[in-house]
Structures are given as structure tokens and as C-alpha cells.
């Protein structure tokens, strides 16, 4: 056992860092004591920047706490999630510095690295350590065992960490099944395993959605790095039901399981400021020859979620689709506001068919648990400008239910899963949805009316499977209700927005998640001229080249004959 208590301050930190970097088994050491000379400076940072969420005494009960999911950290018990030390132990200063610097993605904790000076971050964590009441960083009985994480066996590089061998991923999947990770994280890793989990303070908590790794709290603004997963499996997350698997899983296999978890997360361009995938503000509707398939597993509707510029489409991929990532926010403008939306993105895919005179929108989103209460059904909707023809330029109706002058046309699918109970083991084939489509005209929050005309919007396919909802809307491009229903032209940018309600969390009416106005466009078919125009252009150019040669030769001849000087 290595005991270090004489060396103070920086030297101490440096040695600990050295210990952490050494690829050896874990060392037991004392925790970093509070650096008393920094506490005052840290206090002034804390009371300007942190107190609003973490509270005056660090109890995680600042003014904003009740309107956040997950809640801000309560420092009093000394429970910190993201560490390199063993489960239940206090963190190192270096761990806390990284947390403050990079923030905790997926929560309200922002990255302070660009906002505060380095000295300020070093000071504020010393003050935070003084807020811990139940434990003492200077206690002789406290121990920290910095874990051994090994090294990345495949030497993959950021930002996307591609090139992990398939064997490692398959091996990881076996370990995932053997250790029953799915009991909390769900069969496909969407965090949909267990609806009853609580944190140490009794607040509800959910398992991480592995398919949205940019929300991993410990992702350190490097979401695709498998190290983050190895660290979490090795150290557990203090204060949550996530244990460590240090004893059960060898270090090599922890890297394999990280490879598996990491392979589930779609490679998207991550906005470095928001720590989320960059939103697609244009949804392209693919032109389809003949009818569009109603089968969600048809190549017409299957496509990788990865950005095709990051991972090129595989050779055996039969389809032609691209998915759009749409970011969602809580509705916090009117009425019963929604500060804790459970869904923060949708994936949208679209096709249209002139033969059918119809357009299709497939809406997909991750939702851990569906509602079982008919009072609060789940729902998802598409909002259009009601009178597209009357809009001038880039004009749009108000983005939440329109306004008195510019109505919106809202297609809303309300549904409950059949034979579903969130506490039961999920059905392997997924759940069919008991679904009803409503069509509304919105002229503002207080003027939302269900249409009285014959319904024209259909949902032709829908499914809930392993924490993923899929709803396929269909409507004719044009219909007879020209006064109320959107008439959809092709090759035109049309504003469109999305809404979503999680019944399990009692979302209803204006208590919802929504997107802002995006654009959609019905792409025209590739013109026939594309097959004959390029050769014609090339042929014309060849003629021009011939003329150039002839002209140059003639000029030269004239020169030689002395006709030109």
C-alpha cells in the first residue's frame, strides 16, 4: 500500500496523475485533501455560477432543481458519479476538474472549460469538497483505489473511433447477455429495461440509452470513445443502481463490451457547442416509382442512422434512404409547461409517390416506457401550415399551434401498445399499437379544433419495439379540403414541425415536446436528360478541341510561310 500524506498541493496531484497513468493494478491511497488556500476563491465562483442549481449548502436543491431531470447533484453525501476510483469511494481532484471542464452531457450541467479559467475550476472543486458533510476528504480511513482500465486494444482514434473489429463487438454482446445488462439497459440498449429505478435519494432515475451516447454523463465531450464505457463498467456510477463489474468481467472483456455498446451509437456529426448531433433542418422526401411500401422492414424504409459522410453506405445496402435527425425541446411557452421532456429527438424518413398521389412520413423515436393509462395516451404529430398557398416568402405560422391569421394543420396519432406492461419482460416481436389519428386546425393555443371533414390522414404502419416507437403517416398530396388541409406541392420547400407526448410521464395537450419549423421538400425524379446530356456536352467539347488543333496548326503554318509576323 502506498501512503502519501506529506506531499501537498500540486506535487500530490502530479503523483496521483502519475499513479493513474501507470498501467498497473489499482493503488490504495488517501483522497486528495481540501486545498484550504483555494476555498475562498472557489466559494466566490460557486456562489456566482453553481448555486443556482446545486443550492446554498450544496444539497442539489437550488432554485432550478425541481424543474430538471436529472436533478442537480447533491454534494452533501460525497457521492460523485464520474470517477476513476472504486465504487463508493470519493473522487480524485482530477476527476472533478474533468467533470466541471466538460460538463455532464444529457443533463443541464454545461461544460465550464471555456467559460471559467483553469484556476477558477481548480478552486471551485475545492469549495465543493468542503460542501461534503457526511464524509471527509482528510479522513485517514478514507481510501481511494484508482482503477486499472488497460488501454484501447484497437488503437482507434477520435472523433468517431471506427475500425473496432467485429469479433470484439460480438464478444461484447455475449458478455452483455451473460451479465444481464439488458435488465436495465434493454435488449437493444435503449435504457428501457427497468421502470422502477431510484437513485440514492429516492428520485426516479433511468438507465442510459446506449444508442444516444452523446448523452452519456461521463462522455467528456468525446462520446464515441470506448474508454468512457470501460471507466463506467469498472467504477460504477455512485448514487445510482449502476454497479461496477470489476470482479465479474476481466479488463479485456470490459473493452469488448465497450466495443459492443459503442457500436450501437449512430455516428453523427456532433455540434461541439450543444454536445448533441447537428439537427437536420431539411427533410428530403424520396421520389418513388410506383407505390410505397407499408412494410417498415422494406428497403424503402431501412437505412443506417449514421451520417453517410462519416460511414459510407455498405455495399450490400439495398435502399436509397437518408434519415433526418430532428431535435426536440419541451414546450415552455404556455399553460402547463414541460421542463422535463423525455424525448429530445425524432428520426424522420420520407417518401412520396406521384402514382399514388401520396406522401409518407416515418417518425421514429426512443421512449423507454409507454403509457398504460388511457387518460394519457402516447402521441406523435406532424404540424403543417394550414394555408401554404397564402404564405408569402419565408413566412410561417406561429410554431406552436399557429396564430389567428395563419392556421396550422396538425396530424396527431394517439396510441397505446397492445398487451403492454412496462414492468413485464418485453415481447421479442414488439408491440402493435392501438392507434387513432386525429386531425386538428390550430389558430393559436386557445383555438385548436378537431376537423369536421372526412379524415384523410392515415397511419399505415406502427410498432413499439425495445424502446423504439415507429409510426408511418400517409396522406394524399392534395385533397378537397383546400380551406383547412395543407396541399402538398413537389419541389417546393414546405415548413413542417413535429410534436410528441409521452403518456407514461403524463404528457398531454400543451404539456409536450416539440420542434421548431423545419423544411421538407418532395424531391423530383432524376430527369432523363441526365443520361444523354453529359455525352452530348462532352462530344461538343471534343469538336471544339478539334477546331482548336486545326486553328493552331493553320496559324503555325502561316507563321512558317511568313504570312504573319
Amino acid at each position: 500500500m502506498v501512503r502519501i500524506n506529506k506531499v501537498k498541493g500540486w506535487g500530490f496531484l502530479a503523483i496521483l496523475l502519475l499513479v493513474f497513468l501507470l498501467p498497473a493494478t489499482s493503488f490504495a491511497a488517501l483522497p486528495d485533501p481540501v486545498l484550504k488556500d483555494k476555498v475562498e476563491a472557489g466559494k466566490s465562483v460557486y456562489f456566482k455560477r453553481c448555486v443556482w442549481c446545486h443550492g446554498v449548502e450544496g444539497g442539489g436543491d437550488g432554485p432550478s432543481a425541481d424543474r430538471l431531470f436529472t436533478r442537480p447533484r447533491n454534494f452533501i453525501q460525497g457521492t460523485f458519479k464520474i470517477r476513476t476510483t472504486d465504487s463508493g469511494e470519493l473522487p480524485l481532484d482530477a476527476n472533478l476538474i474533468k467533470t466541471v471542464t466538460n460538463g455532464l452531457p444529457g443533463s443541464a450541467m454545461p461544460a465550464w472549460g471555456e467559460f471559467l479559467k483553469k484556476e477558477e475550476i481548480e478552486a471551485v472543486i475545492q469549495f465543493v469538497k468542503t460542501l461534503v458533510q457526511d464524509r471527509d476528504f482528510g479522513d485517514e480511513d478514507e481510501e481511494v483505489n484508482v482503477q486499472d482500465f488497460g488501454t484501447n486494444p484497437w488503437g482507434t482514434q477520435g472523433p468517431y473511433h471506427l475500425g473496432v473489429p467485429q469479433e470484439a463487438i460480438d464478444k461484447g454482446k455475449e458478455i452483455f447477455i451473460k451479465n444481464k445488462c439488458f435488465e436495465c439497459h434493454g435488449g437493444e440498449g435503449r435504457g428501457d429495461g427497468n421502470p422502477t429505478m431510484k437513485d440514492d435519494w429516492g428520485f426516479p432515475i433511468v438507465a442510459a440509452d446506449w444508442q444516444q451516447c452523446w448523452n452519456f454523463r461521463g462522455s467528456r465531450r468525446d462520446p464515441y470513445n470506448p474508454f468512457n464505457i470501460v471507466r463506467t463498467i469498472s467504477t460504477g456510477l455512485n448514487g445510482t443502481p449502476m454497479p461496477n463489474f470489476r470482479e465479474q468481467i476481466t479488463i479485456e472483456d470490459r473493452w469488448n463490451i465497450a466495443a459492443f455498446v459503442n457500436s450501437l451509437c449512430p455516428r453523427k456529426r456532433i455540434d461541439p457547442l450543444a454536445n448533441k448531433p447537428v439537427s437536420d433542418f431539411l427533410i428530403k422526401s424520396k421520389y418513388t416509382e410506383g407505390p410505397v411500401s407499408n412494410n417498415l422492414d422494406d428497403p424503402m424504409w431501412t437505412a443506417p442512422y449514421d451520417d453517410h459522410k462519416v460511414i459510407p453506405r455498405a455495399d450490400d445496402y439495398e435502399g436509397d434512404q437518408y434519415r433526418s435527425y430532428v431535435a426536440m425541446a419541451g414546450q415552455i411557452t404556455r399553460g402547463n409547461r414541460n421542463f422535463k421532456p423525455k424525448v429530445d429527438n425524432l428520426w424522420v424518413t420520407s417518401r412520396w409517390s406521384p402514382e399514388e398521389n401520396a406522401v409518407y412520413y416515418l417518425l421514429e423515436y426512443h421512449l423507454r416506457f409507454l403509457s398504460t393509462n388511457p387518460e394519457f395516451p402516447d402521441a406523435v404529430g406532424i404540424q403543417w401550415p394550414g394555408k401554404l398557398q397564402d404564405l408569402f416568402g419565408a413566412e410561417k405560422p406561429y410554431f406552436i399551434y399557429g396564430d389567428s391569421k395563419k392556421p396550422v394543420d396538425l396530424w396527431k396519432a394517439e396510441f397505446m401498445a397492445k398487451d403492454y406492461n412496462p414492468a413485464n419482460a418485453p415481447k421479442p416481436e414488439g408491440y402493435d399499437l392501438d392507434l387513432k389519428v386525429h386531425e386538428y386546425i390550430g389558430n393559436g393555443f386557445d383555438a385548436i379544433k378537431e376537423k369536421e371533414t372526412e379524415p384523410t390522414v392515415q397511419v399505415v404502419a406502427s410498432k413499439f419495439h425495445q424502446g423504439k416507437v415507429r409510426v408511418l403517416f400517409k396522406r394524399s398530396l392534395t385533397n378537397d379540403n383546400k380551406e383547412t388541409d395543407v396541399q402538398i406541392p413537389s419541389e417546393t420547400f414546405i415548413p413542417v414541425s413535429f410534436m410528441q407526448w409521452s403518456g407514461y410521464d403524463n404528457e398531454k395537450d400543451e404539456h409536450q415536446a416539440l420542434s421548431t419549423w423545419l423544411y421538407t421538400i418532395l424531391e423530383p425524379p432524376v430527369p432523363d436528360s441526365i443520361y444523354y446530356m453529359p455525352p452530348i456536352a462532352a462530344a461538343i467539347f471534343i469538336c471544339f478541341q478539334g477546331w482548336l488543333v486545326w486553328m493552331t496548326k493553320r496559324t503555325r503554318k502561316m507563321w512558317d510561310e511568313g504570312k504573319m509576323k
Partner: protein, 345 residues
Amino acid sequence: MKQGLTSFIIFVLGLPIFHNFIFPMFQTSSGLNPARYVGFILFVLTFIIIHLILRLKPPMAMKALFVWGFGFYFYDYVLIPHIPWTLFITYMMLWSIGTFLYISQDAATFKEFRRPIVKTIVGEYKLARIVVFIFLPVFVGFTTYKSLLPKFEEPVELRTVHPAPPATTRVHGKTCALEKTRNPFRIQEQDDYQTAFPFLDVNKDFGKGGTGAQYMKNVTEGGTIFFQNCHYCHGDQLNGLGMFSHVFNPTPANFIDPGTIAMLRESFLFWRVSKGGPGLPNESTPWSSAMPPWEEHLKTEQIWKVILFEYWYTGWHPRTFDTEPAYIGAPVPPGGIGSDPETCM
């Protein structure tokens, strides 16, 4: 010819080596980034010096290619922020004209420049002629193909940054003239309280005439409202990067930026906070602002306290008019004036 080939190899190898390995070393994060330009100039000088040392004299056409290529590289990669492509084309046209002037400075150089081109065309450089005459038609065909392929990008919407405020605004039944409205809680110079503690100092006897406690109480209340309502979009750091910020287009205002609250008057903020996106003027539409009209959730005094907090947190000072009472004798707006015409309360 051999000299030309050596020179060409130096150019073709040198540029990628410089671009990928040496140029990144010259990048500093500070605003104007002068190191980039120094790095580029050093690279060009090195290129010239290598030619002088090796006594290389590439043919005129190749020299022209180098000059043109360096110009292209400069405008496309070195110059930051990257200029819009229309401007880029304009600059490159000027650069091409400049290159041509350099070639045609006298008849001899122009002839020298022409010689390899003519030789290629008439077929004296056989291989060059085959390559060029096959490559160009393929290029033309490919460009035609690209231009015929339907391609759609998200439409660009331009908007004014700061809308023109109305003369008066009516909040909670009181009409106030924005020109003379002031924040009733700005009772002290905020710089005196930059290091005071919210929450802790609200009962302390400090500040000028013991008003410090009152000032910090207002800041604390303003911060509380901000962190219960506003941080979702404007961010915990008031930098416009809240949890919901990336959903919206335009993105929420960044108060740290010197171009937002630092150059606005508090009455302007009061109007924007009270009326939100729906209250924006009809001119220069669409604004597409997702800002809620906060008068529906907050009292007038709460709005003023949030504004007080925003300036305290960021350290900016609101813009003010000189003390000259320009509004004396101004007509009373329709609907009357609030009980305190200066604070809209």
C-alpha cells in the same frame, strides 16, 4: 524540361506536406490569427529559396501555375474566416487577371508561356496532348451530370439581429413609453457588487447606505427566476447554449456576446422579455423567434429583476441615454400611462 519536372514535383509534394503537417502548427486560437499568414508567407519564401538554391528555372507556364495555385490556396484555406464563394470567385478572377498580366508583361515571356501550350495542342508533346484531350471532355461531361442531378439545400433565411422596438408597450395593463422606461431595481452601481454573494449577502448590512443587501436580494430573485425559466434556452452560462438551444433556429441570444444585451437598453430587454417572439414587429418578418411572451408567466417586477440579474452575471452595463430629459412634453400614449411612468409598474 527536367528542371520543370523537379520544380513541379517540389510544388505538388510541398503543398500537401505544408497543408497537413506544417500549417496546423501555425494556428493559434486568438481572433485574427496572424500566425497563419506568417506561416503561409514563410512557405512561399521557402519555395522560392529552394528554387534559387537548386538554380531551377521552370518554364513560364509552370510559373504561372504556381502563382495561380498559391493564390487559390491562400483564398480558400489560409484566409479566415472563409469568404463567401461569390467573393471568392471575384477574388480569383482578379488573381487570374494578375497572373495573366505577369505572363504577358512583354512579348518574350508571353511567347514562352504560350510555347508548351501550343506544343501540346499541335501534338509535339504527345502524351500531354492525349491526357489533356481525354481529361477535358470527361470533365465537361461530369460537370453536366452534376448540374443536372437534383440537389436541395436548406433555404437560407436572413434576418435583422435587433428588431426596432415600438414606442410604447402595454404590460400587465400598464402602458409604458420605452424611451424613458428604466429598471426600478437599478438603485446602485452594479460594479460594486460583482463579488458579492447572492443568497448569502441578502441580509448583510453593506454597500452604500446599507442598500447592498437589497441589491443582492433583487439579483438573487432575478437569478432564481432565470434558473427556473430562461436557462433552458439561454444557458446556465447565459451564453445561449441551454439544453433546448440547439432545437431552435435562430438559436437563443448569447448574453455574453458584446453584440446583445451589452449594446441594448434595459427598456428594450423589458419589451423583448414581456412580448417574446409573438410581439415582434411585422417589418423584416419572419423572425421565427421561439421566445415566449413572459408577461404570461412573470410579474412586471420579476421581469425587471431578471434583467438586473443578467447584467450582474455577465458584467455588462446596459446602454443608457444621457440625462437630458428628452421626453418632457411628449404626448401621453393612448390608454394612459402606468402609475409610475418610468418603470411601467
